[in-house]
Subunit: 406 residues, 2 copies
């Protein structure tokens, strides 16, 4: 007898056959006596198709109208699931963003949830109705449709779970949980049974693209247990919970890698006050996000400055930096899109010294050169040459005792 | 400087290229200094595709959820047109049914408009914005999405024109106006310049399927001039106006034909009180609409009873009547799906006797047998054998002086 929020992603609702599987999954939880609220994404590929339609219609689609267009994707799946559930003899009702009172700010395309009115959902649940909410969409205070950005249905689900004080928020996806590393490149990767919000935040941003990062922040803030699991199997997945609820505390919980960044170096930059602003302002004005930055001061009063940008923005960033280099009198600009960022993550490392040295020694033993390093309280990341990615992940995975035992 | 409501049908918004044509058409009216409200249908074929999706999902789609699904069609075109108009440098905003406050009853799939809140539209128009309203959809007082039934966008347009007290409601479609007869079977048919609401009501229900009949009733009630015209040419179409505004008053305005009905006859029905109820109750309980009914009493105290039903319901109706005939002791049941209903329509016939005799004589001269007759104040309809349809329409068109003069 619990209140369960279940979210199903695009591949889980890709066609009527799969939506029927979702219906069966939902009914199982309902028939066990639970109250169930379902959050749906659009059918896989639909959001991209709608964006294509908008780009065909206009050079730069108006953000407000683009959201009106995109919102049809989740409206479609929500209606189909609700009618299936009713057809199977159950009480059910679809609610769109404005009907579920998912109130957001006015930032079209990337809106943030301000509050959720739960009266209507609670009334339906009290009537033993299954509530099917269109994910990804909200409404601003003026009644305009907004959307929450890529992966926004995860945020819809966790936010609604928080507003309802749900017992659990289940995220059904096409993977069966969070792994200690990407199983495609690390065959000995294990599924993680429990992981803390903070570790998940670091996993998500580093490439384990299972949960939208914003939704994890939400879950942490409101302490909503999130169960990441497969919609194609009955197996338990990974529970994302508070740090002190994690039973088995390892020093390192996972090894992740990210191939989406590129490196740019400005050589022999005059070491003057305000020089960093001159370098990074034009980059940020172009909407390019800089991730890591390192600076090596030379004895000559000059400095080498290296930073990473998303690979997709690499060419633009290089052009900008060539102009910057000329203006500020740097000797040269060079870049490398063939890099990888390998990270070890674990709340355990807060209490264990020596994680960094194990990491550096492990990589050194394989003659893998570390180009850049960045650290946080629960994460150490190294930039290496891309060709060493698999090797690095595997040896780190073994070194930190994460390998599967079979 | 007028307030113009423009409605574009499914073929006019079938793809982005056509929506661009609509944008140009809208801007022309706007640039002339007019306030413009645009009502859009879904892209041609989309509504049927969505119904197909719902039928694939369920045996009998839940009406509430079907409306949620169908509403995405008009939401899509409204968003695309609004973003195009903005891309072309104009102020524009899409409004969905609930945002335009098109309040309806709760009759999902065939809702009736109760009232329209015009504040938001008026505010946008005052700001010289072009308002793009998703047609076909409304909202009930509980905030549920409703749809207005087939052709409902016409009703949306006329109702919004009425609520705004617009100067004209322009219905853009794939034909260039209302004709005195179907040009496909009557080559001498002429486009009608002006026609009264009542004539249009009779035209629409008899097969000149240009305007949803309910929208004409609305236009009449609120005295909104409706201009039916082509979205593919600049030519003037047909104005549908109050009877006393029609300049050139003909006795007969048009000749229509309808091939969508079938005839059923019960032979030698015992002529007893309550017998009609026994015959027609099971038909109406089956949801079949009976149009014309005639009864020929025989000298023997028996009667022959003939009526028409939609061709699509012919087989079901025949089965029902075979059972009825057995129960009430009628001698036989026979039917004929190969009939046509040919009608002449004109407000002028109210003041001119002899229209019926001209009609009957004209058909008799061609040896066309009249099987059934029904009349109203401004219409005379004859059921004939289907094979004579074209001949009947042409000779009546000539007899009532409607032929084009070239």
């Amino acid at each position: 007898m619990a209140l369960i929020v279940q979210k199903f992603g695009g591949t889980s609702v890709a066609d009527n056959q799969r939506i029927r599987n979702v219906a069966n999954r939902v009914l199982k939880a309902h028939d066990q006596g639970n109250d169930v609220v379902v959050i749906l994404s659009a059918m896989a590929g639909i959001t991209d198709r709608l964006i294509g339609l908008a780009n065909e219609a206009t050079k730069t689609p108006d953000p407000r109208e683009l959201d009106v267009l995109l919102a049809t994707g989740e409206q479609t799946t929500a209606a189909l699931l609700a009618m299936m559930l009713k057809d199977m003899g159950y009480k059910a009702q679809s609610l769109l963003g404005h009907q579920a009172e998912v109130v957001t700010d006015c930032e079209y395309g990337n809106a943030r949830i301000l509050e959720i009115g739960t009266d209507r959902i609670k009334r339906l649940l009290a009537d033993r109705s299954i509530v099917v909410v269109a994910g990804f969409q909200g409404v601003d205070i003026k009644g305009n449709i907004t959307t929450l950005g890529r992966g926004g249905s995860d945020t819809s689900a966790v936010a609604i779970a928080a507003a309802l004080n749900a017992d659990v928020c289940e995220i059904y996806t096409d993977v069966d949980g969070i792994y200690t590393a990407d199983p495609n490149i690390c065959p000995r990767a294990r599924k993680i049974k429990e992981i803390s919000y903070d570790e998940m935040l670091n996993m998500a941003s580093l490439g384990a693209k299972v949960l939208q990062i914003r939704s994890v922040g939400f879950a942490k803030k409101y302490n909503i247990p999130v169960h990441v699991r497969s919609s194609f199997s009955e197996e338990e997945g990974t529970m994302v919970v508070q740090e002190d609820s994690v039973m088995e505390q390892l020093v390192v919980s996972g090894v992740t890698h990210n191939l989406d960044e590129a490196r740019i170096t400005l050589k022999k930059v005059p070491d003057q006050p305000g020089i960093a602003a001159k370098i990074f302002s034009p980059i940020s004005e172009a909407g390019i996000l800089v991730d890591m930055i390192i600076q090596n001061t030379r004895a000559t009063g000059q400095t080498d400055l290296t930073f990473t940008v998303p690979k997709a923005d690499y060419k633009r960033a290089m052009e900008i930096q060539r102009q910057v280099a000329e203006k500020i009198g740097a000797e040269d600009v060079f870049g490398d899109p063939s890099i990888a960022k390998v990270s070890v993550i674990g709340v355990g490392m807060k209490n264990h010294s020596g994680v960094a040295s194990v990491m550096f020694n492990t990589l050194a033993r394989e003659n893998i050169n570390i180009i850049m390093i960045s650290t946080s309280e629960i994460r150490i990341s190294c930039v290496i040459e891309e060709k060493y990615t698999e090797l690095a992940v595997r040896v780190l995975h073994t070194a930190f005792g994460l390998d599967r035992e079979d």
